[in-house]
Amino acid sequence: MEGEESKPLRATGRCLCGAITLAIHGPLRDVVVCHCGQCRRNHGAPPSYTAAAWADVSVQGDKNLTWYRSSPDARRGFCRICGSSLFWEPMGSGRVSIAAGCLEKPTNLRTVRHIFVADKAGFYDIGDGLEQLPHSMMAHAR
């Protein structure tokens, strides 16, 4: 990934065990919480994701990054040692969603929206007053 260091560092992150670290040299999208059944089962609770252009993301220790193809056009990346969820990638888009929980504070990110609320489980309520979409946010800019 030549040339990315010329852009200012926006954020750094790592998995729980530290085997995988990442640095983002570019803009991060606002955080979106996904309530779909796949995310819930995989993360154990509804996840909070920011997103970036892949070209702006550098990953160290990616030999420990395992990808699971969770649908025909998306895959999920996690650390094979500690199990930390790091990425959700809509394949071929050139972009990657990054779990906000792996980023170092201050993230300077804010949560703006809930998606796939139609699939929400019963064990929690959404009480923050933010926008709720029943399904995906294809109508919104990624």
Binding site: H43, A45, F78, G83, A121
Partner: protein
């Protein structure tokens, strides 16, 4: 409190479990470890270990996240399933991995001092 049989498992289906209840109301953990590993809050209920039947244990990976504590996840799909204080005789299980919420509802939030800065934590 629930007192029936409760089933769940990971996203790919390699690890499945059944728990004989009752299960207490879950708590949502905001600690840095939970948020890092889950990419979400750590939402767990628990039961004595001997009330679990777990299938697909070969695919269940364990990571020791602090002294005497380990976290269990599926090595194939990465789904977060369990949290265990070794030797306690209890096993915590993620609400998200349950096939149904079974009427369980988060009753308390813990480690709010470590909450992420990308959301407004609940006040309780």
């Amino acid at each position: 409190m629930m007192d029936n049989r409760i089933a769940g498992g990971c996203l790919c289906g390699a690890v499945r479990y059944e728990i004989t209840g009752p299960l207490p109301a879950p708590s949502a953990c905001h600690c840095t470890q939970c948020r890092r590993q889950h990419g979400a809050l750590g939402v767990y209920t628990l039961a004595p270990t001997d009330r679990y039947k777990i299938k697909g244990k070969r695919q269940l990976a364990w990571y020791q996240s602090s002294a005497g504590v380990r976290r269990g996840f599926c090595r194939n799909c990465g789904s977060k399933l369990f949290w265990e204080r070794t030797g306690s005789g209890q096993l915590d299980v993620t609400l998200g991995s349950l096939d149904s919420s079974n009427g369980l509802k988060i009753e308390k939030h813990i480690f709010l001092a470590d909450a992420g800065d990308y959301y407004d934590p609940p006040s309780r």
